[in-house]
């Protein structure tokens, strides 16, 4: 089938799925979870082909690890779906209700977005995750996975489609685009008549390409050049513990800390100890002149360091003379993701919370908490770094839109 034919079917399916009751949707998601487990052998067989191709192609260990599926990971996918079943269904909820002087009764009602397009890389578990979140919110989903995971994704989608069919539900609730060429991705990104939103999930290159080339509305996710600012009066132990956590607990994630901003009044008492702690983890440090003298073994930071999301055991350090300077520095270099201040000064904390332009702004906590599960949303479709529609961790609500339903008795406009 051509992309247009696939998208037409998804669009037809969306009208049907939008009207399903919570009960029917939950039953279908549970059935899909069971089906994934039941057909795990088949999925693992398909995955083995991807793995063999990946090894032949010389994919690095990290990518191969993300690609790999086994019984445990398939159970993880199934359990992920079961968690979604437990979440409250936002669809149909009336979020506002008001009457007009002319007698019109207006109700704002949560509805599915419609057809959600997801472009992602070589993580086949995304396939099941995204299906669960979209189906629960009454959306049809069109998936464009990386070519490295094609066999695995295909196997997963086949199992889910078969399970939907057994339950008498539209199989086009989930569609995998098998053509993994760049042309087909480009075409998908411009199908405004069929796809209501695009969510790219993957590295910075993928996201940039989607933002630059899509005419379909995009929710930009992922990139995080996150800062921690240590204020003049911060608790030194707390600062070191939070920075250690935010930098080293998991380096490859978007909410990891990439850059430190240090009040120069606290530099002498904080930095030598912090330096030792970071060295224990093998963190390489690019520091400005004032901080370098307190951080043995550090290298000189350039402008480029402050703008880099390392996703590695590397961090940059910048000294400032006050919180205003810290805010200005962070607003200049951050990606609107997560920023934290370590302070005991309540006024400075509020200044930081108000002045920083980012999805999540913390006082005395690690940036690593920016996450749908940590926020208690029970699920996550991604972390938005844009300001439209959804910002920060996105749970089920981010997959909804609304409509106004208006009840009249013959009103006309004068």
């Amino acid at each position: 089938m051509t992309l247009i034919e696939l998208a037409t079917k998804a669009k037809e399916a969306k009208y049907e799925i939008a009207l399903l009751s919570t009960e029917v949707k939950n039953k279908a998601i549970l059935a899909a979870a069971d089906a994934l487990e039941k057909n795990s052998a088949e999925i693992i067989r398909a995955n083995a082909i991807d793995m063999a191709n990946g090894e032949k192609k010389g994919l690095n260990q990290g990518l191969l690890d993300r690609l790999k599926l086994d019984e445990g990971r398939i159970k993880g996918m199934a359990d992920g779906l079961r968690v979604v079943v437990e979440l409250e269904d936002p669809i149909g909820k009336i979020t506002e209700e008001f009457d007009r002087p002319n007698g019109l009764k207006i109700k704002k009602r949560l509805v599915p977005i419609g057809v959600v397009g997801v472009i992602y890389e070589a993580r086949p578990n995304v396939t099941a995750d995204v299906f669960g979140l979209c189906f629960k919110t009454g959306n049809a989903v069109i998936l464009k996975g990386g070519s490295d995971a094609l066999e695995s994704n295909n196997a997963i989608v086949k199992v889910i489609k078969a399970s939907l069919q057994e339950n008498g539900l539209p199989v086009d609730a989930i569609t995998l685009i098998e053509d993994t060429t760049r042309e087909s991705t480009n075409q998908m990104m411009r199908m405004n008549d069929y796809i209501d939103v695009l969510i790219p999930r993957g590295g910075a290159g993928l996201i940039k390409s989607v933002v630059e080339n899509a005419s379909v509305p995009v929710i930009e996710t992922g990139s995080g050049n996150c800062h921690i600012y240590v204020d003049y009066d911060a608790d030194i132990d707390m600062a070191i513990s939070i920075i250690e956590n935010a930098k080293t607990q998991r380096i490859g994630v978007c909410n990891a800390c990439e850059s430190l901003v240090i009040n120069e009044q606290i530099a002498a008492s904080l930095l030598p100890a912090l330096n030792s702690k970071l060295r224990e983890h093998g963190v390489q440090i690019f520091a400005d002149e004032k901080s370098r003298s307190f951080m043995e073994g550090s290298d000189a930071a350039t402008e480029k360091d402050f703008a880099t999301e390392y996703l590695d055991y590397i961090i940059s350090v910048k000294t400032v003379s006050n919180v205003d300077e810290a805010i200005a520095h962070i607003n200049k270099y951050n990606t609107g993701h997560s920023e934290s201040i370590i302070t005991n000064d309540k006024e400075n904390a509020e200044k930081f919370l108000s002045g920083i332009d980012a999805a999540c702004v913390y006082v005395n906590a690690s940036t690593r908490f920016t996450d749908g599960f940590e926020f208690g949303f029970g699920a996550e479709i991604g972390i938005s770094t844009q300001k439209l529609h959804a910002r920060g961790p996105m749970g089920l609500l981010a997959l909804t839109s609304y409509k106004y339903t208006i009840y009249g008795d013959g009103q006309i406009r004068k």
Copy 2:
């Protein structure tokens, strides 16, 4: 100044404006309103140049009328600003608040979007309107008006900037791009590092161009192929009155009715009378075969008619055998704007409200009510026909984003 220089200044201003109190913002908007009235002679002089150029260029009467400014219209602009002052300021409002088991206290806080870009055509009143709405919500605005209104827009922006300066506020809260070439528009649409959202206001061509070419997130507005479906048991007088209103009260607007869907059971009793009423207004009718026999003087409708937003004294008519068929027809041809059902059947009304994919879905009322003022929002930045961020009439809330502010006492992620 280059576009980048202008945008850099707007970006700097946004951080300052975001922190202004409601009182300061209101005072500045009132001062701008007064200044517009005080400097009306200068604005009218500038407008006279645009008008003379427009006449020389052969702009049609409709465009010239939209372009023209006089004392009354300038007072209208000023009063529009005064209305915005009366509206509740959403910025800073905490819309959600929750604690996590680890002690983190999370507050979701409404914040400005940042820098709002507006691309519009030859209506200089938009310049003041947009400034008021954006400034009230703490946003900086970059305006790209049509070349036909350049002198008028320049004069208005100059007055507002002078008024901001007198009040000690950042003059870069409002920026007019004087370079009205297509290249500068294209550049503006791709300034993701400076502009947080683009709102095109104007005809279908302008909006399509922005949607297709922008990499900055867009809120799509305006296009309305609105339908009225008359169900089998509708009140005939009500149906005629609502259709007359929605089609003829104002033809050039996006919430005007462009297409009728008629249950064939009611065709014989409704259509002859409706035909006479529409003929009184000189409405040309393109009807399908079944309805044509009841509508003397009508022409045969083609597929293209059902897809056309006429914005004229023209309407298309399609017969269907039931509400499901009506919903399917409307979902196929509508633009997601406003659709209405005229019925006494409550079940069909609910079916229509649930099944129709549009921003505003009416029962027994004219589609002409889709409007920020009619909805009681007190102002309108446009009517969104997309599903992300804002849908339907957009008031001040559509110009806000949110951030999560998170209070901890040393939490790190395990």
